[in-house]
Amino acid sequence: MTAPAAISLTVNGERVEAHVLPRLNLADFLRDHLKLTGTHVGCEHGVCGACTVRVGGEIVRSCLMLAVQADGAAVETIEGLSDSGEIADLQAAFRDRNALQCGFCTPAMLMAAQDLLRTKAMPAREEIREHLSGNYCRCTGYQAIIDAVETTARARMEPKA
């Protein structure tokens, strides 16, 4: 039906029940309905990567997923990763290395970078580049971003005191 459909999902660990129009994409649902505006909307056709979120633990483009497709799913946004402290070190590394200018791409860059570091402890620079290749930074800050990811990987490898 073009009428709203009921969906039930978790977003950053919290249960969310909503009625959404089928045409509503997940990015707009997160931003406009849940006011989680850390997920950015750039190109709206899957090219820029600014809307990257985690669904079921895997990164996806939230502009290329309908909110109705997220029924039953566990969605995590930058707000969740930030508040839980999961990426505190990565955020600090971005800040220290000036790995952002305007900041528009940053939430999704952090999402994609953390996705890589969860599966590969010490990726080569080329692997970092490849994993972030779907995320555009129009301030052209790529070198600093890759530096920050590499620094974080190295720091996480060090034995904890």
Binding site: L21, G46, I59, C63, L64, M65, D115, G134
Partner: protein, 294 residues
Amino acid sequence: MKASAFTYARAASVDNALELLAVHGERSRVLSGGQSLIPAMNLRLISPELIVDIGGLAELRGITARGETLVIGALTRHADLLGSSDIVKCAPLLAAAVAHIAHPAIRNRGTIGGSLAQADPASELPACMLALDATIVVRGPAGERRIAAEQFFTGIYETQLAPQDLLVAVEVPLARKGSVHFFKEFARRHGDYAIMGLAAQAVLDGDEFADLRLGYFAVGDKPVLAKAAGKLLGTAMTPARLAEAADALSDELDPHEDQEATPAMRRHLAKVLLTRCVASLLDRPDLLHIGGHV
């Protein structure tokens, strides 16, 4: 932009999906991973009235070996192909190709069935299906059809699928003893659509080709299984023979012109990839230097 309004139906089974498609036909579109369909809808290139979401159908998922065939369910995602030990063992060409498809976030949603049904002439998997001599399994109102990949792709975004049909699986012959593969594409940046590319599967008999299937993509309105490969079978490879096959390939292809390349450039790149492919598969680096194109 945002997609225009549509009616959404979540299929409860393959039969249910087929019923919906039978009723709504051309007014409907099938949603699997959505990584091609949703961009097209967001750009308002298409505005279907009904979306039939097959994403929840477990019966369309998974990779299973059945006799001499690997059956890959339509909803198998690119990320699943990349991480599958069965694919690496039985159809390693697919693993090599999938690494070139877009980016991790896209590969986590995009499916093999969606990619083949979309039939973008610049995409990797249709050419792989030609090289692997795969069979596309389709269900429609009249039952199941099994279509050879060579017949399946008919034009730009066009296949043998009717609006009432559902692509349910692909069947790939298991790699035979002596099988080798080659995959290479030229793209501006990693993950971009290819300017042109080659997916090749071969069977070696000593230092000769017993079989060689060359699936070219981004060379026209559909992927091409190059007949020029026939000139390279069952014969000791020489620079002259390879050059002859490269010329035949150039005559055979009818590449398109777009902002990425002219037809002449695509013909040239096709010959370059042929040379690299043959040199790589036969482990003959000396062949790379024929005719000056490396």
